[in-house]
Amino acid sequence: MDLINQSVKKWDHDPKISGAAKYVDDLRIKDMVHGKILRSTIASGTIKEIRIPTLPEGYLIVDQHDIPGKNNVHIVDDDSPCYSDGTVNFVGEAILMVVGEDMKVLDKILSEIVVVYEEHTPVLDMMKSDVIFYQYGYTKGDPDQAFQEADQILDETFTTGYQEHIYMEVQGMIGFYKDGKSTVRGSMQCPYYVHSAVKMVMGLPDQQVQIIQDEMGGAFGGKEDYPSILGAQVAVAAKKAGRPVKCVLDRREDITCTSKRHPATMHYRAAIKDKKITAIDAYAVYDCGAFTTLSKVVLQRGLIGATGVYTFDNIRVNGKGVRTNTTPNGAFRGFGGPQTFFAIEMFMNHIARAIGKDPFELKQQYLSKKGDITATNGLYHFDIPFPEMIEKLFKESGYPEKYQQYKHQTGRTRKGIGLSLTYHGCGFTGAGERDLIKGVVRLKKNYNDTVEILTAGTDMGQGLKTAFVKIVAQTLGVPMHQIIIANPDTDRVPNSGPTAASRSLMVVGKLLERAAVKLKDIWVSEEEQEVEEHYVHPEFTIPWDTENFQGDPYPDNSWSANVVEVEIDTLTGVADIVGAWGVYDVGTPVDKMIVIGQMEGGLLQAVGYGSMELMDANNKGVIRNNSLSDYIIPTAMDVPVLKTDVINNPYVVGPFGGKGAGELPAVGGAPAYVAAMESALGIDLHHTPFSQEDTLKALEAMKK
């Protein structure tokens, strides 16, 4: 492999491991006070009255009336309020902030505030919602005819649950206001998203708003939209208080009121003729929660992937995102993909069994390859290296032999093994990069020949700083220590776009590579120089038609093949995860070790999504699993064997052949896990997470 994938010590290793790195809650700032948010305790209603106790000196209340601009937080649409507009729409919605010096006093004030509501009946079940935020659909071929001519029609419903990010560092932000300028700093993926949100809420022009990213303790999509809301809230508070205001959520608050992966209900039909799949008809409903946040784009991505990695001649896909009185859902690694990929992967297993085929054989029969027409009538432009990946995966996991071996087991413990094949489209959907983001990067060469990278890209642990430094250093042909990269500050960096959608390396990395080439060309030692690069859309793509969902939604995809093996205890329903394996194509891995770290971490999250990460709400819309002892994520002991590998399949227009990586491993873990449970139990399953209780229920049902 190339020099680029040789691993180096991570750029931020030393400050993080020694505890010196400052995350937002670690900052000590002169005159700073704290803010704590009063949140709705009901899922739907109108606020009739708020009774505030007499406040001690130095304490104040911040609410909608203190907002200088609009009470709308700009995300994709602008419906999320900064502070409640007099209605409450989910348990946890922010009503007001109490600001002051002593956290214990703030807690006391919060406990003494009385909110009188007129309660409305909340809509908690997505299938009962009649408010449709977004609705899309597309067709390929003639599915109606295929269904008419079918000799067998399969019809199944799949459901997927919430997934909570559990970034180890909770959300937190500090607001400042001085001389008519709002500054907000804290834990965020997308400084320029926060920038536009604060601008609108504060009613300020571009240059009067400054956003700074601090060290980020994980995000996984969870700090894509929510920081815009919290950022706007502290900005308003800081102006009123006349002092810096820090608001760091506590864990229960964070789990209750920040975005999660959308629960989904997906109805799939397959037309079968002569044991062949002649059409797929899919209908997906995504539960958006009370406000739209990022649901529009999440739903789009989910629908685009609804038929998975397979090519069918006739397809109909429809879907809607609906409003419920629950916490607004948003971005989570995979961004709408894990739901529909779960459905199609399980559906393919079930179709196979229904027509008497081996699931893998059936999948292989329809596996997409270079030159195939995609579901949206785009084109698979590049090699799809599944054959190589699957060979590797089978060798590591022993899938084919074990799958046969685990049929018809008896006894207290039973083993099972499952497979999933998925992709993740790299970058923003459609023409977003060209029309909306228009990313810009800058390289600034100092007199001493050090070069500073200026982008809005944020490092949330995924290794962005290291990767960017490697790309620039190698392109320039200078040692890495000559490169400077700091956390972005919108006063200093151009808008290279959000750190999301597995775009940073592929898109921003490419811009940096081009900037470095340019700088190298004009390089004059001991002189200050600066170069700037702007996004250029790859020419080979078939233009994306957002209206009709036609064309190439992504310039390329990253591909994954996953296997999970389980052993269930039939007395308790407990499933031990024997192992999880994944083989991935992320183009040329820019730093192999970092990429493997991403794959391992993502796969473990995805296995959690399929198995133990259960979150539900009671009939009042209150999330019950709002603590780390109640919302269960895997420990080091839960998946004792976790093996991932990558293949080298350079992406021609990526920097050093790299393409999107971060989200890919989050897509295939759940379907592989539930497929393993199917293999152990010998029945078809339709939902995730598949819990211990579900397993025992299935076993008891089989006894009868």
């Binding site: 691993s7 991570k10 290793h13 491991i17 505890g19 995350y23 391992e600 473990l604 080091a636």
Partner: protein, 158 residues
């Protein structure tokens, strides 16, 4: 005798102005400004606030200040000045085991607590040793491998 809670913090005798019922975590972060001790949950469930108390791993969020009177408390700030830390840090770097970094100070102290009792742990023992420290980034493999490597490289140090 009445007075203040005193203890040995990173090898230095200190006196706290905190109440006996205060969380050690808050005392360390706020009074002593040792912000390498992270807060992830405040209920002993994540290990981000791990410290060593008399050489034993503890979640400082569920330790009352009054319970550590006259004890030795080591945080990452103190531990990072040791030879053992150097070996662990290098091993963590070798496997790119530090991602977001929020769990890492606690994870390093859990590694120390494990190796100080069991210098040559098996993989299963390592997984158990760090089982109280949640990490959402790495999938744990890189950390497990780093501890294995540190155990080899640091032969004799533990």
């Amino acid at each position: 005798m009445s007075g203040k809670i005193t203890f040995i913090l990173n090898n230095e005798k200190v006196e706290s102005n905190g109440k006996p019922s205060d969380r050690l975590l808050d005392v360390l972060r706020n009074e002593f400004e040792l912000t390498g001790v992270k807060c992830g949950c405040k209920e002993g469930e994540c290990g981000a606030c791990s410290v060593l108390i008399d050489g034993v791993l503890a979640n400082s969020c569920v330790v009352a200040l009054g319970s550590i009177h006259n004890c030795h408390v080591t945080t990452i700030e103190g531990y990072s000045k040791t030879k053992r830390f150097e070996v662990l840090s290098k091993a963590y770097a070798n496997f790119s085991a530090v991602q977001c970094g929020f769990c890492i100070p606690g994870m390093v102290l859990a590694s120390e607590a494990l190796l100080s009792h069991n210098p040559h742990p098996t993989e299963a023992e390592i997984r158990e040793g760090i089982s109280g420290n949640l990490c959402r980034c790495t999938g744990y493999n890189a950390i497990v491998h780093a501890i294995q490597k540190a155990a080899e490289e640091g032969n004799g140090l533990w």
